[in-house]
């Protein structure tokens, strides 16, 4: 079933075009940022990467929440969902397949965008050394590890957005209203994450903090030990589980 989900996705030209917009945008943005850098020398690739990640991240979230909302609303509108339900797979299995597929898609979309950004800047910028407070330091391999770790941790809040879209598509069932409400939720959560009293419980704040951390480390700013980061990771996983279990609970009991 998962194999078919992948085949089904990659045979849809509209989806592929939609899927490739962000990596291409990421490539062009990277190229632009690396080219217009004011430094006479080759600018630090890591610094520019951190800037472009900050810029691309909201688009990744929006696109993934759209993919999430498309997951079921397209099956409802195409009336293919009931065709799936009269086969050998249980409702839970159908849903879990879609959830796993969304994770694969989130990983691929984020990873490809990330790689495209690095590729666009690799010849124009300098990933071998980094200038911190006037000193030119040779970058160690650990900076690459940190970069990939940041990328990996960023997948989860993006995945939370796509699961939110999936959950809403189960309730709303129609494509356009689902996409609209998912986007409203996305902006609402982003706005709410500005308020200190509740920001710790919202996954956009977690990703913003993560990006901020990465940016500071790359700039050579001392970052204090921050135990809240672990808390954010836990909160984010909690969101993922809440969305998955409430989707399964709802899907198992609903009329289609």
């Amino acid at each position: 079933m998962l194999k078919f989900e992948i085949i089904k996705f990659f045979k849809d030209k509209k989806f592929i075009m939609f899927f490739m917009i962000i990596p291409i945008f990421s490539f062009l943005l990277g190229f632009l940022l690396y080219t217009i850098s004011p430094s006479n020398d080759k600018p630090s690739g890591f610094l520019l990467l951190s800037n472009s990640l900050n810029f691309i991240y909201p688009f990744l979230c929006i696109f993934k929440s759209l993919f999430g909302s498309l997951t079921f609303s397209s099956e409802y509108e195409g009336q293919t969902l009931k065709m799936l339900l009269i086969g050998k797979f249980s409702r839970t299995k159908i849903l879990i397949n879609k959830i796993v597929f969304l994770f694969i898609l989130t990983f691929l979309l984020t990873f490809i965008s990330f790689l495209f950004n690095i590729f666009s800047g690799i010849s124009l910028s300098n990933f071998k050394s980094i200038e911190i407070q006037g000193y030119v330091l040779k970058t160690s391999f650990s900076l690459w590890i940190l970069t990939f770790l940041t990328f990996f941790l960023l997948i989860f809040p993006i995945y939370s957005f796509s699961l939110m879209g999936l959950f809403l598509s189960l309730i709303i069932k129609r494509l356009f209203p689902t996409v609209l409400i998912t986007l409203i939720f996305y902006f609402l959560l982003t706005i709410l994450s500005v308020f200190p009293k509740i920001q710790n419980f919202l996954f956009p704040y977690y990703s913003n903090t993560l990006l901020d951390y990465f940016s500071k480390i790359v700039k050579g700013i001392d970052v204090p030990y921050f135990p809240f980061l672990y808390f954010f990771i836990l909160v984010n996983f909690l969101y993922i589980f809440i969305f998955i279990f409430s989707s399964i609970f709802l899907f198992k009991r609903m009329d289609l």
């Binding site: 089904k8 195409g78 009336q79 009931k82 799936l84 086969g87 609903m254 289609l256």
Partner: protein, 224 residues
Amino acid sequence: MNLLKIENVSKSFKNKKVLEDISFEINENEIFGLIGKNASGKSTIINIIAGILKKDKGKITFKGKEILYPDIFSYISICPENPFFYNHLSLYDNYKFFSNIYENKENYEILEMLKLKDFLKNKFKEVSKGTKQKLALSIFLWKDALLYILDEPFENLDPETRNLIFERIKELKNKNKSVFITTHRKEDIFICDRVGILENGKIKFIGSKNEEEINKFFNGNAQI
């Protein structure tokens, strides 16, 4: 002996009763037809048997046991009304995928017989309603099952294909299988052993296809 038994099944949508205490059964080695006007509740009862809709009350048993999903689909093959497959995929891809999920053995001779082979590369959205229906029947009617449930199976079919489908239904009966079809057309019920009339969500009659009630239904609904 009855194979599928529906007892006092009711279903409402937003306080509107669509099915009211429906009871009937389908016996082994029998072709049972359920006739009714449009929106009489025929598809709703099939969707309830399929588990797509949840019943408000009542009981559905298969060989005396409560139906369990999706295990039941190893014994029952259900062809819904206006079957929808993936529009952007070819008929071939759809046939392969849905044969897999319905545990149907891929058989290209059947596709040849139903004159589908020339369309296999076409996308599902590009073919006619009749071709879509033929693709669905090539899967659901040739799958190995004990009971075949077909919701308006003859819609959009040309006379030649309809005859092929009638032949297949007769063949299934000869193999000791049961078939449950819904229709609103008189010419489709000649193949049935027993017929039920569904009107406004209630079973009005169950009996032989030659009974006066059946003639009355069709004569009184000459427009359908």
